[in-house]
Symmetry: C2
Subunit: 409 residues, 2 copies
């Protein structure tokens, strides 16, 4: 009697529904499907043997402690290692600024708890990370979407929006930004815009949530310093994860923030899941201290860089000329735009019939009427051969879709 | 500039503060302190070598899958094993009713998301599990506290309260119950009351959240079937954990619910932390399938049973006659009540000076004016020798406190 419980659900739960992407991912278990849909790292990159070795060592040396409850802040040696790495990227932090979390998605949830009241407006880019939208919606946020271009969030439009909010007397508290190889669009925010964003935060009194899961995955060009490295008022909350440089299954991420903010995040985490997995934290800590991170990042850059080049070359070769797409310098995704009026959602059904999948871009926009002609393509998960085969299949579907539309237009 | 961020915090975050208990636990790291304060299992019980062996095997056999993102619902063999064990306790469930979570505290958080709107009233026992209070408060719940007696929640007072709510036209949606060896009071709900609670749920149209972390830890008497085993309308959400029968550091728990409810919990978890740790789930699954759980439970029952008897005997021997305390049949805690007007919070300061600690009972009541003369004593964490030594120290402090009060009265 499911309808029985409708009365009992919260307002937010009545709005909850399984995402299209989630449903799609279930379809993709078919073995002959070539999927550009997921956002998964390639298991080929996982250092399974190293993890086995470390796991065995840490359980032997410190098993009882690792298997006991830990403090919410995180395993102290790991906090210190993370702080050290982050200082290396130009951020002025110590272990006192680090909270270890159960994967960086948890930061979205904790930030929601600590900052979002019902109806609160958050500024995001559009498109943006899907599960940030659903995560913030759990706290009944509403969104002010700022369009992107090849430089990520449009700073001119952000400033216009801030002015408008200021005129109305209520500037949003948080701007959520994914500066590096953004999910879904793959675009990167230039250094000047990062500095500008911090200046705007200081001027308009907002905080920036800098989500950086892909920062280490650069295959072309030079690293750009994180937004937080330009932050001198403690307004930037920085989050990242071991999911892309070690393993997502271990569920370890981190957040850096001013102590006044971190304290609230810690209290929120205490109620959310007490502490992060002790075994995973010990593995991550040893993995850093044994010097495995940088060689691993080099290995991933090589594998994913090759896949990205294969993908971009294949797109040039096979895709209809009406399709436009981003040229990422790293990360996991390419973002493609069909001609106006051609629906990627409709084409997805046909693509799945032809055993190739992508994510229709609509899901990455807070307004379901936006992004209908867009699509996200992942290049890290399929094998190199499958990338080519998949692009050929997909090009056929898109071609037919575009021609069909042109004929009826 | 911490005050700078005050404006940015949510309403709930402005109320958040570190709990007394959490602050206390920091004090307890002093090596000469005897602590009855924590709620930790004894590391002596952890099957470290078995976990090492299993860990090595699962990474060898299935490393790439374990280290990849998993589905939010949980690792399928583990869902099935859990469902099987739960059926063995009389609950009519399959794997389709199981969601694996990152420790059972996460269920508190997910239930908050899925059921609690701001200002929502929840029925709880008073005292109740501290971090359930803080967890539900994250969703701005208010509480209707039902006093307990040696039979756990007072069913007569619950029914009175339900009648009053029904008269006012709004019956709370959820009753939160800890039927077995309740934290903090150690008291257990008899079978008749469990049946009665389900009858009331059907009659008054509410759900029951049955929190059962200690169910396996019975040292005296016979097991009592879970509340959920009497549930024929799908109104009981049951939660438990591997923290007390395997290891808390692995952060694996589970929740059982009707599919209509489970679906919402799954969507909420997706946004909270994507999925539960793959390595921990594989370890828990193998640990069950290799037949280690029941021998482990026997071992824990023996160790903790001995500690509980030592504790109860020591209390009889040392404690002032004015002190009353519960006689648990299992779990981890004894609940003691000082004479009216003797403040356990004040005595705690003196106790810590004498190098013995407990938790002042106040924290377990939603109203900070309640429970001032109560205290929670944990017996699973200290060694047997420390239990005796600690009780002697504590008895001295309580004796002085009670005499002091009697003289001034």
């Amino acid at each position: 009697m499911p309808e029985l419980f409708e009365r009992h659900f919260s307002n937010r739960a009545r709005q909850m529904k399984a995402s299209d992407v989630r449903e799609l991912l279930k379809l993709l278990r078919q073995s002959d499907m070539i999927s550009f849909a997921g956002g998964f790292p390639n298991t080929e990159t996982f250092p399974v043997e190293l993890i086995r070795e470390i796991c065995d060592d840490v359980l032997k040396e410190d098993g009882a402690r690792i298997l006991q409850y830990g403090i919410t802040e995180g395993y102290q040696p790991l906090r210190e290692s993370i702080a050290g790495r982050m200082r290396g990227k130009g951020m002025d932090v110590t272990d006192e600024n680090v909270l270890v979390v159960s994967g960086s998605q948890q930061v979205i949830d904790l930030v929601g708890k600590v900052f979002i009241d019902r109806g609160e407006t958050m500024i995001i880019s559009a498109p943006t990370y899907l599960t940030a939208l659903t995560g913030f919606r759990m706290y009944e946020a509403s969104f002010d979407p700022i369009p992107i271009d090849d430089d990520n969030m449009r700073m001119d439009l952000l400033e216009e929006s801030l002015k408008r909010h200021a005129t109305e007397g209520k500037v949003p508290k948080i701007v959520y930004a994914l500066p590096n190889f953004q999910n879904p669009a793959g675009v990167t925010m230039p250094e000047g815009n990062r500095r500008r964003l911090v200046d705007l935060a200081n001027e308009y009194d907002f905080l920036v949530l800098e989500d950086d899961p892909y920062g280490e995955l650069r295959y072309v060009g030079d690293d750009i310093a994180p937004i937080k490295s330009f932050d001198d008022e403690g307004r930037v909350i920085y989050m990242s994860t071991f999911s892309k440089i070690l393993s997502p299954g271990l569920r370890v991420g981190w957040v850096l923030a001013e102590p006044a903010i971190l304290r609230k995040l810690i209290i929120a985490k205490q109620s959310a899941d007490v502490c992060t997995n002790g075994l995973s934290q010990a593995i991550a800590s040893e993995y850093i201290s044994r010097g495995h991170v940088d060689p691993q990042i080099s290995k991933i850059r090589e594998i994913y860089g090759r896949k990205m080049r294969t993908m971009l070359k294949g797109m040039d070769e096979f895709m209809p000329e009406e399709l436009r797409w981003t040229k990422p310098e790293g990360g996991m995704f390419i973002w493609a735009t069909l001609p106006d009026g051609v629906s990627s959602t409709e084409l997805l059904d046909r693509a799945v019939e032809r055993k190739v999948a992508f994510v229709s871009g609509r899901a990455f926009f807070p307004d379901p009427d936006d992004g209908k002609s867009t699509m996200r393509l992942n290049f890290t998960h399929p094998s190199d051969e499958m990338i080519i085969e998949g692009l050929e299949r997909l090009a056929g579907v898109l071609e037919t879709g575009i021609r069909g539309r042109t004929r009826t237009a």
